[in-house]
């Protein structure tokens, strides 16, 4: 009799599982059809570098103090100073992103906000030389970088959270549970 009971409960467990996979047939899909549509990237995302260019005085923010070089664990950055001394500016600035870990240490080390990271993540190439970014492709008008708000989450996540909160609020009004996200006790 035990065997039959076991068989029956096993069969029921299969049905329970099939109910879930079946329900997922009609659910929303999570695929992002990548080359055609792109995922939303968080503002803090650590991608390709820029060296902001100050339009007011027509100079790069970078002073050539080499602090970023000292901070980098993998010797990505090489630069040529323009003038003598610590803050003489730079003539050339080269980053070999083939060795970069995108660890953010150089950005944190820079005291002049002269090196920043963007959300540009499509950096793959089949040629190692393409990974070496010279100053001309790194320097960028400062406006875009300055406007970036590092202190937000990605718009998609924010929208989803807002939608859920609205839903919970609506449920609360119609006599459901009050607070949108009262912390539940762990099961």
């Amino acid at each position: 009799m035990n065997t039959i009971q076991d068989l029956f409960s096993g069969f029921m467990s299969f049905l329970r599982g099939m109910k879930i996979t079946g329900a997922n047939l009609g659910r929303d899909k999570t695929t992002v059809l990548y080359p055609y549509e792109k995922a939303d990237v968080a503002p803090r995302y650590r991608g390709l570098f820029v060296l902001p260019f100050n339009e007011a005085n027509g100079r790069l923010n970078c002073t050539g103090c080499t602090l970023c070089i000292q901070a980098c664990p993998t010797n990505v950055i090489t630069l040529t100073k323009l003038g003598a001394g610590k803050h003489g500016g730079i003539q050339d600035f080269q980053m070999d992103l083939g060795r970069c870990m995108f660890c953010n240490l150089c950005v944190e080390a820079c005291p002049f906000e002269a090196i920043e990271m963007t959300t540009q993540f499509e950096l793959a190439s089949t040629d190692r030389n393409v990974c070496v970014f010279p100053l001309t492709s790194l320097a960028q008008g400062g406006a875009a970088a300055a406007e970036k708000n590092y202190n937000t989450i990605s718009t998609a996540l924010a929208a989803e959270a807002a939608e859920k909160a609205a839903k919970a609020a609506a449920a609360g009004e119609s006599g459901g549970h009050g607070a949108a996200h009262a912390p539940k006790e762990g099961a």
């Binding site: 599982g17 899909k29 996540l157 939608e163």
Partner: protein, 370 residues
């Protein structure tokens, strides 16, 4: 219930599903109209062919082979889409409308691929194996009754023919496992033999019980027997368990999860066809899907009244029912984990065989009291 990340919301539109179904139905309708086309215009040709048995056989074989290949294309697309939707993905999307032509693209890719034969392989065996697997699965289609008229050859011993022919594909599987000279392939081949041989026993017994109730071994005969009531409704107490056992056995016969041990990806890389590439691999693939379609068709024939049904043309009924059974098999495949070899064997010999024995006895009693 909302789920998934907002940025990638992709509901399946009802229209999309509707369109897919209506295209399928349209194809089936065209197919079912084929017997009513003005074939008499071709009379000189057909009578010429009919005069020479060899030519006739060749023409029939070509038709069956083409049908199997075409049906596989559609079927593989369906399987991929269903798998995708069940797994919160979208399935193939790139080639053709909603990826309809993806399978064609894959077939072309497989044709163009290099045909690799391992150095130490047993070359004749290695080359022969895909055909040893593919031919039996083609042959079985010969006796499958799509409608009362549309059946390759209505053998009086159709059920027996199916059983004996489909069992021979084991040879091919083992030839592949042995001939590849690869330890994974060998293990897969040995597993396949153990599995296919053991699951043939309850399969035969269950089919026998249906045959006993119908009193005929001809597949068309079994269907016409169900004119009044489908088998599954006529003897529900007997036939529902019989159908379940049949379903489990066919899952094992076509190496589908939870019985995909011979090609268990996470254990044996790809099992008996690990070393195959290009068109040879495609033959294994084709055979598997052809087998799958055939098993579903057989289940419909045995339990769900074959082509019988009101309103729609007979071939449409048959295909729709078969698709339903196929869908059930896919659903099971994408839900359940894989069994271990000892569990697989003990389940067969300790549960399925006694159960099907009991079924036979019950069928005999039911047949007598009829």
């Amino acid at each position: 219930m909302t789920s998934g990340i907002l940025r990638s919301r992709r509901p399946i539109r009802a229209a999309e599903v509707g369109l897919g179904i209506s295209i399928t139905v349209a194809i089936i309708a065209i197919a079912s109209a084929i017997p009513h086309l003005p074939w008499q215009l071709l009379k000189p040709l057909t009578s010429f062919v009919a005069r020479y048995p060899l030519l006739n056989a060749l023409a029939n074989a070509a038709m069956v082979a083409n049908f199997v290949a075409l049906q596989c294309l559609g079927f593989i697309w369906l399987e991929r889409k269903f798998a995708g939707w069940m797994q919160a993905r979208v399935g193939p999307m790139h080639v053709g409308w909603k990826g309809l032509l993806q399978t064609v693209a894959d077939a072309v890719k497989l044709l163009l691929k290099e045909d690799i034969v391992p150095t130490d392989a047993d070359k004749p065996l290695f080359a022969l194996a895909p055909y040893l697997v593919f031919v039996p699965s083609l042959l079985t289609f010969m006796v499958l009754p799509f409608t009362s008229a549309w059946v390759g050859y209505d053998l009086p011993l159709g059920a027996l023919f199916v059983l004996s022919i489909s069992t021979t594909s084991i040879l091919g599987v083992f030839a592949a496992g042995w001939g590849s000279n690869n330890k994974y392939s060998l293990l897969g081949g040995v597993r396949a033999i153990a599995q296919l041989l053991s699951y043939d026993v309850p399969l035969i017994l269950v089919m026998l019980s249906v045959v006993m109730l119908s009193g005929t071994m001809s597949l068309t005969g079994i269907v016409t027997q169900q004119e009044k009531l489908w088998n599954i409704a006529a003897h529900p107490l007997l036939m529902i368990p019989a159908f379940l056992i049949f379903l489990i056995c066919t899952l094992a016969e076509v190496n589908r999860a939870p019985f995909d041990l011979p090609e268990a990806e996470s254990e044996l890389v790809s099992g008996f066809h690990t070393e195959y590439s290009g068109m040879r691999f495609a033959f294994f693939f084709l055979a598997e899907f052809a087998n799958n379609f055939f098993s579903a068709g057989l289940a419909v024939t045995l339990f769900f009244g074959g082509w019988l049904g009101a309103g729609l043309p007979a071939a449409v009924w048959f295909t729709l029912k078969t698709l339903c059974v196929i869908f059930l098999m896919m659903w099971i495949r994408w839900t359940l984990p894989r069994l271990r070899i000892d569990q697989m064997m003990s389940f067969c010999w300790k549960v399925l065989v006694p159960a099907s024995m009991a079924l036979i006895c019950a069928a005999a009693i039911a047949g007598v009291s009829h």
